[in-house]
């Protein structure tokens, strides 16, 4: 079933993509004319097929079985364990989609993604506009603002986890010094959610800022000068020059940011381990928990993985279509 869904997706893009309405004959003629190009890309296609295609196919297959670490056959030394897993069709999907847990996690994952990407983009745009002006020490500011991006995700997560520590953390120490009570940041579902979003925003803003800054600098200054001559207010200039000028950059980085954030494993896993309870667990961290704790449930986590992939494919298609409606060719 998954095969057909992605096939349909592929068909859809193939048919609607610009300039792909030729008949089969033209394909053959193109082959004849561009055979060297095909030969050139063959190694890449082969390697990509092996590195991505094979695990993907295997994952989809596993998701249709009841394979776990205990039922997969293997021979190690004197121990011979026969394979006892079976093809169970869509059972894994039915049980995942039928559980309240999945929908709970999906809602939180969507909230998490929208909040993070919204703040990433908003703050990134604001900072980029500031840095696009002529001001002193501009390169120093840029350097400082890009710093969070240079820190590896897991290091940042550990630093933040320490900052959030309810008894010995810096944040609570500051709160206490200012006369407020300590907050158990990671101990309550609501504050824990705010805490992980804050960390991810901190980590993701620099990228957005740099990307948007690049976009801003590609907008010709004459446009602003002309608008100013015509008496346009700053808001009108922003609305009618900056926003359209940034559209190409924005649409790309927002889609990328959405996919990254949707699957942002380290922040959640390293800061809260999904807790308290499983309140901050997003779909990928849950799939990881299925796959890598105790006796590993390969089939269940593969099914989670396929569902996550399908969600992102659907998201990308919808997003693409929305952009095309706005006249973007992306």
């Amino acid at each position: 079933m998954n095969g057909t869904t992605s096939d349909r997706a592929a068909d859809a893009t193939g048919v609607r993509g610009p300039g792909r309405r030729e008949k089969a004959g033209t394909v053959r003629r193109a082959m004849a004319r561009y055979w060297y190009a095909w030969v050139m890309v063959a190694p890449v296609v082969l390697v990509t097929g092996l590195l991505i295609g094979w695990p993907l196919a295997r994952g989809v297959y596993l998701s249709l079985t009841d394979a776990t670490e205990a039922t997969m056959g293997r021979t190690i030394g004197v121990n011979v364990i026969p394979s006892t897993y079976e093809f169970v069709g869509l059972e894994n999907y039915v049980s995942i989609l039928g559980s309240g847990l999945f929908w709970e996690k999906l809602i939180w994952t969507v909230v998490w993604t929208v909040a993070c990407v919204g703040l990433h983009y908003g703050l990134g745009l604001g900072l980029a506009m500031l840095l696009n002006r002529k001001l002193r020490f501009r390169s120093t500011y840029r350097l400082l603002l890009i710093l969070p991006w240079a820190i590896p995700g897991f290091v940042a997560a550990f630093i933040w986890r320490y900052l959030y520590n309810s008894d010995y953390g810096v944040i609570n120490a500051m709160l206490k010094a200012a006369g407020f009570g300590a907050v158990g940041w990671l101990d309550d579902p609501t504050t824990a959610k705010i805490a992980v979003i804050a960390v991810n925003v901190w980590m993701g803003v620099p990228f957005m800022m740099v990307a948007v800054l690049g976009g801003l600098q590609s907008i010709p200054g004459e446009l602003y000068e002309a608008a100013e001559m015509d008496g346009a207010t700053p808001w009108q200039r922003f609305r009618h020059i900056t926003v359209p000028g940034l559209r190409t950059v924005s649409s790309t980085v927002v889609l990328l940011g959405t996919i990254w954030t949707f699957n942002m494993f380290p922040v959640i896993f390293l800061i809260t381990r999904g807790g308290p309870g499983s309140s901050t667990e997003i779909l990928v961290t849950y799939a990881y928990r299925e796959a890598f704790t105790s006796i590993r449930n390969y089939s269940g986590s593969a099914a989670w993985g396929v569902i996550i992939l399908l969600l992102l494919v659907v998201l990308a298609l919808v997003y693409r279509r929305a952009l095309r409606r706005q006249g973007e060719v992306w």
Binding site: G77, L186, P276, F292, S294
Partner: protein
Amino acid sequence: MRRAFSAATIVAALALAVSACGGGTDDPAAAPAQSAAADPSKVSGEITWWDTVRPDSEGPTFQALIKEFAAKYPNIKVKYVNVPSDQAQGQFQTAAQAGTGAPDVIRSEVAWTAQFASLGYLQPLDGTRAVENESDFMPSPLSSTKYNGKAYAVPQVTDTLALLYNKKLLEKAGYDKAPTTVEELKKVALDVKSKTGVNGLALNVDSYFLLPFMYGEGGDLLDVQNKKIVVNSPANVKAMATVADLITSGAAPKPATQDSYANAMTALKDGKAAMIYNGPWALSEVYQGKEFKDKANLGIAPVPAGSAKAGAPTGGWNLAIYAGSKNLDASYEFVRFMSTAEAQAKVAKEISLLPTRTSAYDNPDVQGNKDVATFKPIIDTAVARPWIPEGGQLFQPLLEGYQAIVGGKTTPEDMLKKVDSDYHGIFKDWS
């Protein structure tokens, strides 16, 4: 492949000779004659050992033992790899399943051993040189090495939980000895709080640390013999209510749910809390704290009893051999050497880890170690957990429930109901 049989396990050896020793031409009757020590100079090979101790404080002792081993077995080369204890299980499973990168010998936590064995990762050890004089091992740690009646590991060290306390703080509150029941624990903690201003008790929000409260009321998680899930019992409800009461009454401050192990340790070390639950592995770290520069200030007592008894879980580590090891003979010799009473005594003397051999406790070096002497009677009352492959899965539901209780989000009854239903998801055919 050459096999030698120990006289003590002749029965198992017979079974093995028949069933497993495809290439073995050993005449079973000749087995007792082969129980003499193998010639150390004849065994050769290179083996990798994954150790899980703290590399800075405990590692050097084990590396010194390896040097002794190398002197005795000149043809065996031991590659020492330190793997953090919270990663070793996952890394070993990944490597063993993939068939590459697994070590020959792994230091396996007591709860992992049955799981590894059930997955076919471990070499059966009955009748091999690795197992020597099994009857000398303490029963509780020894039981953790068995799966389906066969030995898959050799006990290396054992441990349990105890009440660690700051003697000076308790004295200031008017107590010259540790509380022996949970009721006393609450009273002492409250008195410490009111008379000294520091917290009485620091709790660690972790499933393992809930077990003393459950055992104390006569509760348990599973009844393995009858294949029954017994976590949702009145005894456990009482235990959870006790824990919740310790927090709401102020005897223990509301603990952090993240990093709560480290926070509780820091609180004890800095004199910000008078009592914590922890095991012998924590002692070397506790003594680094400013309150315990004078080691005599640290009190170690059995965990306080509930209404039924005082009991803490058995912990500890085993030595197991990867079934795919290319150097089984060398691995057997290594495990045998590391689990001798002498090796255990050395470890106990230097880093206070508790021997699993009863004979090791007769060693003057072990008797000279005050911490080991204090822990020995506590170990004797420790409760063996069910050593089943699914053992590792029991903790996550319990942890989530504990966190919810600490956060005031659930009642003991509802929490145990939820844990019970989660356990039924793990053990589908249990009642």
